[in-house]
Symmetry: C2
Subunit: 181 residues, 2 copies
């Protein structure tokens, strides 16, 4: 079947367009000016990514006529695209998701409420909480072994990761409480 996995830039685009149809230029502005600076705003990344999404049938672009400005192509998420986005968001959180930074999980969560609904947001948080628990256990075990041999900077760097994960767990619980109200 050879179904290569979709890079997170494409999911970020899908999520944004689900919120509001936009042109490539619009998206670039969003990426460069808001807290989504982690994603590339270069035309060489955005335009080909939009093409790929269109080729796969997840979005459809229509050229906007009339408004006087140069041709502007507005992209809208198709029903197939919505399904893909929902599927991505509602997957349980794996250990792998945590190893490679919370970045992607947070993006999924940020889109979850609008794209799927409150229950999905809560479900994602619960899944994150569980995964994080296991992940933290592993980290603590590794830390015990490491702290005897590593130099101070190595130990502290590891502790930073540990604290980060603990903080994330606290945030997760806080977020769950926020939804309970």
């Amino acid at each position: 079947m050879k179904q290569h996995k979709i890079p997170s830039l494409e999911y970020a685009l899908l999520g944004l367009l689900q919120g509001k149809p936009a042109s490539g230029y619009d998206v670039r502005k969003i990426f460069s000016s808001t807290s989504m600076k982690t994603y590339s705003d270069s035309p060489g990344a955005i335009y080909p990514a939009l093409r790929r999404l269109e080729r796969r049938g997840f979005i459809r672009g229509t050229i906007e006529e009339g408004a006087g400005l140069r041709r502007r192509q507005i992209f809208r998420v198709t029903s197939k695209g919505t399904a893909e986005l929902r599927n991505w968001i509602t997957h349980p959180v794996t250990a792998d998701d945590l190893v490679h930074g919370q970045q992607d999980v947070m993006l999924r969560f940020a889109f979850s409420e609008y794209a799927v609904g409150r229950e999905a947001s809560v479900a994602l948080l619960k899944s994150l909480e569980e995964s994080l628990g296991r992940y933290l256990q592993g980290l603590r075990t590794e830390f015990e072994a490491l702290k005897k041999v590593a130099p101070l900077s190595g130990r502290l760097a590891f502790e930073c990761g540990l604290r980060g994960a603990e903080g994330l767990l606290e945030w997760t619980q806080y977020a769950i409480r926020s939804y309970a109200k």
Copy 2:
């Protein structure tokens, strides 16, 4: 001059080899078994990266003879490589370093003590503290604007980033105190 920037995988290799000369296989084991899982342990990533480092004169590989096992190439950091590593570690922390995750900064810090010295570790922490202060101010301003318009999940996701940065700042100050002792 066209001096393309070195990817962090290569710095990770440089730092590891600075600590202890090793073969490509050794490094793969380290990446796959320790907390450095974020870096790829695939041969298609490691071996070409070692080649590039060697081509640039940062490391030198020597084939280990005798030990009965199959040929094993051990890589050692050259003085040019050491200089490059120190240079990378001692650069001040920029806003950009923070936007793209603390990953790289932490790697620099983890290597700092052994590769440069305690003063360098402290200097890096101080630089991080200062950068983080400014970064946090920006985040808080953005948060005020966002929290009026975003849905709950969007607001919470942003708060997660905010808390993460605050936690990192606290860790930085704790680390500075650790060195003061």
